[in-house]
Subunit: 290 residues, 2 copies
């Protein structure tokens, strides 16, 4: 089974976990729309790639990690799109959850997906239940109010915003959680994977800033120009367009240099290359068109 098939199957199973007759039907529909069809699923694919590099010794637990990370990412998108944040009408080329199902259900979908993420972790069959504590902690920190997703969004409400802390919390933290959780699930040392993920996360955030600054909304399936419209700091403002491209290239090298010796190292180098190549031509194409 390839990684995409494996991931989509695991996500479907997770959504079905509590899809009992007792679940309110409108909420069920909204939960589904928040997760399917997905975007790039980059964070869970990073988890699967790290697990493969570490021998993928606990596949059910790794699946749970990948799913949990993606559910939290989807939750953050639903809440970010709300009128009190980006007030976005569409996402992935379709109406956002609050436009399709109402603001109140969108708030609940976000909360419900976070809860489901932890439930999926706790239910995963594993020979190593003692690893659960590390997984729950890593995910909670990755989405949390201190240096996770919530902190990243909250920096946008501050007058003085430290760009590095803001980007690391807003994007890097969940990439780090994905890689760390996969390593912990496989019983590997998490530290080198945290550095790899931090570099990938930063590259991804810069590509996102580039797309927002110079892209076309029709190509991206979501509105552009949001950083300027919402007076948010952006790597493009700090580095310029050329500097931002150069930084993505440098981050690819940083990620490769941080890779530990492991059975699946070659596979992970290939995966990193593909991810960065997808980020770059897309952003370069946008820059040419823009």
């Amino acid at each position: 089974m390839n990684a995409t098939t494996r991931l989509e199957a695991a996500l479907k199973l997770a959504l079905a976990l509590g899809d009992v007759p007792a679940r309110p039907p409108r909420l069920s529909a909204a939960l589904h729309d928040a997760v399917f069809p997905g975007g790039g699923r980059v964070r869970p694919h990073l988890a699967l790639a790290v697990a493969r590099a570490c021998g993928d010794t606990e596949p059910a637990l790794v699946d749970a990690c990948a799913v949990a990370v993606e559910l939290c990412h989807c939750a953050s998108l639903v809440h970010d799109d709300l009128p009190c944040f980006d007030n976005a009408d569409w996402r992935r080329g379709r109406p956002t959850v609050h436009r399709a199902h109402g603001e109140h259900l969108a708030v609940l979908v976000g909360d419900g997906l976070i809860a489901l993420a932890f439930e999926v972790l706790a239910r995963a069959p594993t020979l190593h239940p003692e690893r659960l504590g590390g997984l729950v902690r890593a995910l909670a920190i990755g989405i949390g109010a201190s240096r996770g997703l919530v902190a990243g969004q909250a920096w946008e409400a501050e007058a003085k915003v430290p760009l590095a802390a803001y980007h690391r919390a807003k994007t890097g933290a969940l990439f780090e959680a994905a890689a760390v959780m996969a390593a912990v699930a496989c019983g590997a040392d998490e530290r080198p994977w945290r550095r790899v993920a931090a570099a990938v996360g930063e590259a991804y955030q810069i590509a996102d800033d580039l797309a927002d600054a110079v892209g076309h909304s029709g190509d991206l399936g979501k509105p552009v120009g949001q950083d300027v419209a919402h007076v948010r700091p952006s790597a493009v403002q700090t580095l310029g367009v050329e500097g931002a491209f150069a930084r993505i290239i440098a981050l690819r090298s940083e990620a490769e240099a941080a890779l530990p010796e492991c059975a699946g190292r070659g596979h992970l180098v290939d995966w990193l290359g593909r991810v960065v190549e997808r980020l770059l031509p897309a952003a370069q194409g946008q820059a040419r068109c823009g």
Copy 2:
């Protein structure tokens, strides 16, 4: 240390957990206002009472359970008060979080408190790390989209609402989580405690419906008449005022009958009596005034 002192100290420690310089300061202030000063803290007190009845053999883990349940309860209040739900301007006699800090921070505070709840569980020192899975699962189900808090709120968006499932999800689920988690943390059988908690939760919800139907907002520190205003089902509509009082008395007997034999049984009977006595005179007073 009495239960209130123990609980408030544990909550303060939890909020301080990630209160590093890296946390956005406005978010920190909003998180604090969502948790302090508290309301009745009934759910975490239930957890402590159940733990005491079970011998309180793992106090640090029990504290984490009590804190995690209360943080999730506070998160749900912050989200429930949002304009797209109750649109409440005040809570516990003070401005609601979105009124004081803005809607976007209120959404983030709810998300951040849920994440923190799971982080607290995962960080709790314990001799029994294998119990963590049961705790995470119980909390996730208690707040989740299938039959937890999120499902309870989502029933309000449906045309046909099954009152028992709605009340059990909206209120009972987190009472059940509190009791089950305390029992699991102490290595006790969770099943009888689930029944005890279900009865206490239902009594609490009926008292809340009574207060909303016949109370005064000045006494309660929050708006009344919300069930009628938001066309929500209420036990008062189904049972009438007298019937609702009678049901609370019956539920006290049900809870006592479900209590298992345990060292702290007598203490728990006293605690149940005090809780129900506080619910009843308050509601009766409201009924006389109303």
